[in-house]
Symmetry: C2
Subunit: 114 residues, 2 copies
């Protein structure tokens, strides 16, 4: 990224979900992530996965443009819907703050630039 | 993602680096990630971060288009340069396989679609 870009904010969430409610949890999470990246300019990427062989272990890798964007996200209606709707499904949540070293992704839908 | 897209392969790497060699490690890693996303069509994104307050703890979130792309990456010259060049810098490496739930990112450089 160019040196003039703001410092991205990184969060990694490690969650354990009640297995009996895993499908419902994933539906809430999918709706929340799709809305966040579509509607919030400062939500750069949200990648949610489950650990292979242990599907109730969820990991979310989150990239926000800056601190203001992160704080705005926490107040967004689609985030609050997810947070409140899944509160009884989450057995544990660990939120890890991180500093970017290098973040690279293909342009959406495009071929490599070279 | 559309149902017709190939199943992405997700890897999460958790590394502890020798603190005395951390700057050299980051230089190898940055060169490797930039080359991989630029040159390999099947390397969709590589996001490397350090845990805040514990900078020798590195986390890399990796998305490949499919298994073939992942295996090709492991044989790419820029990956082998990184792997060999950093072997003596890495104190531990844990590689976690994961299944995608929902992967979303902004189009590079573009505004939100709505």
């Amino acid at each position: 990224m160019a040196e003039t870009e703001p410092h991205p904010i990184i969060r990694m969430a490690e969650l354990e979900i009640d297995p009996a409610q895993l499908d419902a949890y994933k539906a809430f999470l999918t709706e929340e992530i799709e809305a966040s990246v579509r509607l919030e300019p400062g939500v750069l990427s949200l990648n949610a996965v489950s650990v292979k062989g242990d599907p109730a272990q969820i990991r979310i890798f989150e990239v926000y443009a800056d601190q203001v964007a992160y704080e705005a996200h926490l107040k967004a209606p689609h985030f609050l819907k997810y947070k409140n709707g899944t509160a009884a499904m989450v057995r544990s949540l660990r939120l890890i703050e991180a500093d970017p070293i290098v973040l690279r992704a293909k342009s959406a839908g495009g071929p490599p630039s070279q």
